[in-house]
Symmetry: C2
Amino acid sequence: MLSPWLTDWRGKYHGRAAAMLSPATTEEAAAVVHLCAEAGAAIVPQGGNSGMVGGATPDASGDQLLLSTRRLNRIRSLDAAAGFAVAEAGVILENFHNAVLEQGLRFPLTLGGKGSATIGGLVSTNAGGTQVLRHGTMRALVAGIEAVLPDGSLFDGLAPLKKDNRGYDLKQLLCGAEGTLGIVTAACLRLVPAAEDRCTAWIGLESPDKALLLLRQLDAAIGPPLEGFEIVPHGCLDAVLRHIPQTRHPLNAPHPWYALVELAGDKADDLPALLETQLAIALQNGLIDDVVIAKNDRESDDFWRLRDSISEAERAEGPAIQHDVSVPVDRMPRFIADNPARLAAAFPGARALSFGHLGDGNVHHHVQPPADSDGPAWLAAHGEDASRLIYRHVIELGGSISAEHGIGQMKRDIFAELDSPARLAALRAIKAGLDPAGLFNPGKLIA
Amino acid sequence: MLSPWLTDWRGKYHGRAAAMLSPATTEEAAAVVHLCAEAGAAIVPQGGNSGMVGGATPDASGDQLLLSTRRLNRIRSLDAAAGFAVAEAGVILENFHNAVLEQGLRFPLTLGGKGSATIGGLVSTNAGGTQVLRHGTMRALVAGIEAVLPDGSLFDGLAPLKKDNRGYDLKQLLCGAEGTLGIVTAACLRLVPAAEDRCTAWIGLESPDKALLLLRQLDAAIGPPLEGFEIVPHGCLDAVLRHIPQTRHPLNAPHPWYALVELAGDKADDLPALLETQLAIALQNGLIDDVVIAKNDRESDDFWRLRDSISEAERAEGPAIQHDVSVPVDRMPRFIADNPARLAAAFPGARALSFGHLGDGNVHHHVQPPADSDGPAWLAAHGEDASRLIYRHVIELGGSISAEHGIGQMKRDIFAELDSPARLAALRAIKAGLDPAGLFNPGKLIA
């Protein structure tokens, strides 16, 4: 009966659980945690079970308890004038989007799993997505938090305070803590006015270097309306066109790289004129080689579909290992340029491809086995070492081995192996301080 | 010889120190901390010594060591294209402003003590100031941090990553930790384009309620260029006009309340037209009663001088207790309206006045003794209880007993007495986890 919740979304991790607890109120959640603390029972919190790193899957012992937030699913309040809403942990992102939109507002965080991802999970994993360039990750959108702490006490930090200097910011500490320090039961979230208009361009250009210069130009000239800036290498677009039905190349000829740029704002901003002017300058300066601007919403959606289908197309190409990493934005072109050669030097024939959120310094980096190899066998033999090489490169550049997916159980050991001892010791000390018995999501994030 | 650094800026706290350490590099700072950790010596970090809560003043034992960041005073890098600069802890805010301005950029945080306050202190106290409405507190401007942890290890989190999900955000944890968890040695700070133009208005209106409606109107219609929104009661303006030379009332008649509004942006934004249009609407709707827009920079400065002189004028009026508190923005009019009556009910004749950053929900709240009383004697007898009443009111409304000044030693005990046990226990657990020997700034923030 519990089986749907004992395997992660990617199907990589399988666990067992003594039972699933589904409190319907914060008080019930606190009472349950209190009982578990007394009994020494470990708790694995779970929202939509759509995480990417096995962070919500219990271990194999069968001793752990699943705590589902699914019944904590009320939107407690929505203050359109102040631009805040309080949503409980189990509210599904898409439902929240719709509720907010009905009031003429927008919650500016979205991602592929919006139909299942929940507010509590999004907070606990500090979720990113495609609107981070302008609006930041979940961390920037959380104005208040309510959570049950490991001893069963309730931390009520829901009131949205713009200034609050009472020491350590527990709200920020719980964001991205993957349920290891507290179980988020509700969050007060910032809302922005609904965007009346958007304008999307698909651009052909030579390199990530030039894409970065274009990003800087648009950022300086356009500012806040610039909401999306993604880059795609020709190889990825090609795979999409081959494997995904009803897709077509937006330009007349291939280019080594593409940028997908989106502005959002009011009708009065005249976004098409803004974007056309800037792209004309970029063409003239040789930053870009070709461009097409979407004439309507359908064409915008078509451009995004090309971007959003890359993972699916790559899967159809054959097995690969995926890496969700980040480096400072200005080092991203170098990272993308250096990686294939580094990889090929250590693993002859292996291919590297990168795409993603240039504006956030967040690249999704795939490694494919040599074309003439037995893919799964190659990955079993070399996959882990290839990942290690990429993660070392990321750390050399001051980057993060987890940009937006988190650590969970998937990256726990490599994180402990490669990251700086000072950071790891600090994380362990915080965990030991707040959860000395180790009952909240044990085995995740930090061991 | 050490005496200037043994008393806080307000002259309220006096301490002694065994010695003052002034490392000139991060490595020296780490080495010094390492030695102290081995010897069990307590360290009190100090930047510009301009804090408001005695957070950088050692205790009276003479056993503690002062660690001054004054020689850590280099701006290590400034990347105008990326909009980031790395400044060491001892860089003085005003010097940083100037260095950044030379590159056509702006660091959008400023406050009265900018000539002495240092980057490290501003980070460690999560400083606020008058530009928080648009740009947030220090927390929002810190893109990376370098710090020495209590065991002498160096945490290098300087690289500015827009996405980084490696667990607990140590950067955010160190912001506002008042040197109790780590000694910040450098920070990577976000910069914005220098503002070409500003437009300032002094507005007469009836109440904080109407001021809040005006704030909402301007925020919705003008958005990002709205950088300042302060409110001042007539009593405060009156005190300024009486005590501060060369000041004059900007309007022709008195009003119960005033709002000081400032926009900042490019010349192309036509800020005066933007503001005039919106204020005409507000006049028509009866939100405001009178307004004057500054014709030039000098008039803008004059308006701000009225606002910035309130503390000085109030001091000239006689003794008072000051409270730096915050509540959710939409509860601020109620807080301001209810406070005088609550206070007078408990302390007949005592007067309450509030002014400050309405847009941030941060009110500076002064309590004056009854007019016919011996002020200092009244404050000695009743001051603490009057403060307790105000702090209880703040907490009832979900607010913070320290909006921007921090806890330090001044509010440590009242914080421990009044705030929620769950929050206090969590702070103590974090402190015990990261600094088990209690060597970093002992006696501050949390006891």
